[in-house]
Symmetry: C2
Subunit: 251 residues, 2 copies
DNA sequence: CGGATAGTTGAGTTATCTCAAATGCAGTGG
DNA sequence: CCACTGCATTTGAGATAACTCAACTATCCG
């Protein structure tokens, strides 16, 4: 009795919004949590067991505590999450807002990493995969490897852009760019309609992502709202005037 | 008549300071610019020609102009360079100071990239390798792939740390951390002695790397000098008081 | 209804920037 | 060797974007 509109890979129903964009979905791993033989390019031709597990986190819940080091790599299936590092005094910097299909924690693939905080911004479903098994996938399946490379390069470029903004742009520009970037990534996923997309970030998250104070963030957002550039309603954001938003974002 | 202290791979003399730390040196590619068969793990066993070329840039010269898009990946053999993005008004943000052995432009491996500026900070020798050939190396040689992954994850983590500093730390902390990070990377390469290492950056480079103004950078550096924490002489930097430098760098 | 969390607003402070002028320093041509 | 030019650095004065603090309001949830 399920309403399934799009054709799915054999044994791999597209259960979550992120599936179609997920770099791991097409391997077939998600079908059951265990697969005997994945993909079509297994050079050895032998059976292989890949284990993964699905988890849920409610909005606001912590997915990874800064004091624990993870042995897993994660994929966002649905919802939204954020990756950040905190300072001793409680301030922190958000590096990326994670959308369905995104991979998290790949930088811990070789060196163990600690001090990173993962928090669900919205009710979120994610899949965990052991680092060792992920590495195995990477070295054995060229397609998967290429997709992974594209993704990690994208994330590094995003991070460079973030550094550029934090170093050289003012508050309004940073906030406008954050919104534009999210809108673009939502659009790529087909999760935006009528300029409106799901926006579970609270103002302190916007502040943490842009290196600002919540107070100052509030003041900048007021201008954006008063000028009818964006509109917030029911945890979603609507871009009313794209041209002016781009103008605020600056060169 | 050459003084060669460490044993080099067959046909691959360690010509430059970066060789021992370079993720590509051990493949043997650098020996002649062309090799018929690289490494020891070639699964096909067949002959393969990898082409690469060596280039020089004098201090201050541009290696890659922001308007040209490169089809190459580069390795620093000796000297120092910087990778940055510039804004229309001339301000820019430096993302990384590149030391001997470092790989540059790997984020352009799949998507063409433009707008990035590469500049030699010191007289620099670097090696260029076509993207396509680099990708081939990556997919065929597991060791090389692992080293590459470690390096790209390291760079992403560095970039996260940069964003954290730009977003959440003050001028003195950012500058102190830049110095500490460089000292650490020089130490790893054995290129530091008596707390002193080569430091060709001008104050505007420090400013561009820390998101500050050259004027303000000058004022912060004065304090560091007056407090006998660091000393600049002949384009090199000496850390006089590591404990206090760490203290300035903050938590 | 009450208590907690999130957002708003104003007043005063501060880190950093901008502008401008002065100094130092390296390379060039005479 | 010297004067000259161009860049890097220094220093001071004043401007400003963003911060801190504090009080108030709105919203959510049991």
């Amino acid at each position: 009795m399920q309403d399934r509109s799009s054709a799915a890979a054999p044994g791999s129903p597209e259960k979550y919004p992120g599936c179609a964009f997920c770099i791991i979905f097409h391997t077939g791993i998600c079908a059951s949590g265990k697969v005997d033989k994945i993909g079509s390019a297994n050079p050895a031709g032998g059976a292989r067991v890949i284990q993964s597990s699905v988890h849920k986190a409610l909005a606001g819940q912590m997915i990874l505590h800064p004091r624990e080091s993870s042995d897993d790599v994660m994929f966002i299936c649905s919802g939204q999450a954020m990756s950040s590092i905190g300072l001793a005094d409680g301030r922190r910097q958000i590096f990326e807002v994670l959308l369905p299909g995104d991979l998290v924690l790949w930088t811990a693939l070789f060196e163990p990493m600690t001090g990173r905080l993962l928090e669900a911004l919205d009710d979120t479903v994610y899949r965990k995969l052991k680092r060792s098994e992920f590495k195995m996938l990477l070295s054995e399946y060229p397609d998967f490897f290429a997709t992974f490379m594209r993704f990690s390069a994208f994330q590094k470029n995003q991070c460079d852009q973030l550094a550029l903004s934090l170093g050289r742009r003012n508050a309004a520009q940073r906030i406008a760019r954050l919104i534009l970037e999210l809108a673009k990534r939502f659009a790529e996923r087909g999760l935006i309609s009528d300029g409106t997309f799901r926006f579970p970030l609270r103002q302190r998250h916007i502040a943490d992502a842009t290196g600002l104070t919540p107070v100052h963030t509030s003041k900048v957002l007021r201008h954006l709202r008063q000028d009818h550039i964006v509109e917030f309603k029911d945890r979603s954001l609507r871009i009313l005037d794209m041209a002016r938003l781009r103008q605020v974002a600056g060169p």
